[in-house]
């Protein structure tokens, strides 16, 4: 009953008809913000995938000896290295790559055929580390030195660091873009509020004259812009979600729009982060409108 009566009270501002351009600008901002947010999510997930994929792995490379017969030495050292790995604490699976598989690995660089068959290729041993366990690399290298002098351990740390840095760079850039969009949205809302203030100057002055507090007048404006920005940025965020859902769908049926990039598909739980965009969009517009009106009112006697 009470609520019904309150709802009957008309807003002191007329419903805006000419503010459509503001809606469009905010919707576009929200769309861009949603894209950046998705970029953050993808960079985060990709960095995680890379880390998870490589971090649990050690590779031992046994190089062909500089002197003497190659194949027997390679075979002997490889077997010794496998033995060392198998007896290392923290390693749960050791797997030697067959010669054929190694050849396939270098095929793209050296080509197929006789040339490769003659070339002494290093042997590769793949070892998986128990997740979360730390392998004492110094000790491992030491033991390997005596058992297989031509074996080298690679824990991919170098690669991982670079990939992490890349992912971090992407992530922070996207955060930066988000920040810029937030500022631009605030500036747009401030601009729109000022336009609204001058369009409704007579109303604002009258309310002020009748003894309305700044907060009362400001809330007539900030509610309007809160609503506008919320729905406009909801539209932008939904559009971005559709774009990413579509990209995910394409990848699902095997069409990869950009072969070198990590997958664009985002899970449903990741897409729910986009809910933040209308919330923040509305909040930014609300706060900006409120502060602009209060600042303008301070300039009236």
């Amino acid at each position: 009953m009470n609520l019904g009566l309150r709802a009957q009270q008309k807003s002191v501002l007329p419903r805006e008809a000419g503010a459509a351009s503001l809606d469009v600008v905010i919707a576009i901002m929200a769309f861009l913000a949603a894209l950046s947010l998705c970029a953050v999510l993808i960079a985060q997930r990709t960095a995680q995938d890379w880390r998870r994929g490589l971090a649990g792995k050690l590779t031992v490379q046994v190089l062909p000896p500089a002197r003497g017969p190659v194949q027997p030495a390679l075979a002997r050292e490889t077997a010794a290295a496998v033995q060392v790995l198998k007896t290392t604490r923290g390693i749960f699976s050791v797997h030697e790559l067959s010669e054929a598989k190694t050849e396939r690995l270098v095929e793209p660089w050296l080509g197929k055929g006789a040339l490769v068959a003659d070339l002494p290729l290093p042997r590769l041993i793949d070892a998986s580390v128990v997740p979360g366990r730390h392998v004492d690399l110094v000790a491992l290298r030491h033991r390997l030195k005596t058992a297989a002098p031509d074996g080298y351990v690679d824990d991919h740390r170098h690669w991982l660091a670079r990939l992490s840095r890349l992912a971090d760079t992407i992530m922070w850039s996207a955060y930066g873009v988000l920040g810029l969009i937030a500022i631009a949205t605030a500036a747009t809302a401030a601009f729109a509020t000022r336009a609204g203030l001058s369009a409704h100057h007579d109303i604002v002055e009258l309310l002020h004259q009748m003894g309305a507090h700044g907060g009362f007048i400001a809330s007539a404006f900030d509610r309007h812009y809160l609503r506008t920005a919320f729905f406009a940025s909801l539209v932008g965020a939904v559009l971005a979600a559709i774009v990413f859902a579509a990209a995910g769908g394409l990848e699902y049926v095997g069409l990869k729009p950009m072969p070198f990039l990590p997958p664009l598909a985002l899970s449903m739980s990741q897409l729910t982060w986009l809910v933040l965009i209308p919330v923040f969009g509305g909040a930014i517009a609300w706060a900006t409108a409120r502060l602009s009106v209060l600042a303008a009112l301070r300039n009236i006697y």
């Binding site: 009566l5 309150r6 009270q9 002191v12 007579d202 109303i203 004259q209 009748m210 003894g211 006697y301």
Partner: protein, 223 residues
């Protein structure tokens, strides 16, 4: 209630519109402000209803010295004043009812508490049937009556009316004047700026006459 001491007023760098204006309105008094067009009546009223600060001089309102008071007190002071503007200043997108209800809303009252007051006052000024019309569809005189209803509905301590009968026929003018007297009887201090000498001849009241920005002493109309 209201005290002006050597008040001067100019708009920006322009000429002085008011010069050395000094007077006092006693609580519960009923005063007409007269003078030729352009004499500065509206300007004087604006100073009184806190629309403009004076260029110089001292204004005391409800015992508050405006020059030294914090601006934060102004909204509360303004809510104690009902104003009928010369140009009405109604909100075109609100009905007559909602326009009149505005001061009550501003003072925090609830719809169910003031609905009856608003309907009563609109009926008194002869707008009962036009209660839900928007100002652009009302005649000039009807708009003026909405403006008057809005100024008096909250029973202000001070009522300031600028040419409140300029757009209505003499009979309606007398009826509106009775409304002001009724309000005055209930304790409101009333100040009415007008050209209408017929209005002034009525009732117990005093007159302030403004000529060329200066107050001219006038005797009580009917002491």
């Amino acid at each position: 209630m209201v005290r002006f001491e050597n008040v001067g007023m100019r708009y920006g760098p322009g000429p002085e519109i008011l010069r050395d204006v000094s007077f006092a309105l006693e609580a519960g008094s009923f005063t007409f402000l007269t003078g030729p067009s352009g004499a500065g009546k509206t300007t004087l009223l604006k100073l009184m209803y806190l629309a403009e600060p004076p260029s110089r001089g001292l204004i005391t309102l409800f015992g508050t010295d405006l020059a030294t008071a914090s601006r934060r007190l102004f909204p509360a002071l303004r809510r104690r004043i009902g104003v009928v503007f010369q140009d009405f200043r109604l909100l075109d997108h609100l009905s007559a009812f909602d326009n009149v209800a505005l001061p009550l809303r501003l003072s925090g009252a609830r719809m169910e508490d003031f609905r009856q007051d608003v309907e009563e006052i609109l009926t008194w000024v002869g707008l009962g049937p036009r209660m839900h019309a928007k100002p652009p569809t009302l005649s000039g005189g009807e708009q003026q009556r909405v403006a008057i209803a809005r100024a008096v509905v909250a029973r202000p301590d001070l009522l300031i009316a600028d040419e409140p009968t300029g757009n209505v026929d003499p009979d309606m003018g007398q009826r509106l004047l009775r409304l002001f007297f009724e309000l005055n009887r209930l304790g409101t201090t009333v100040l009415i700026a007008t050209h209408d000498r017929g209005l002034i001849a009525t009732g117990q009241s005093q007159e302030l006459r403004l000529v060329d920005g200066r107050l001219v002493a006038m005797p009580m109309v009917r002491p």
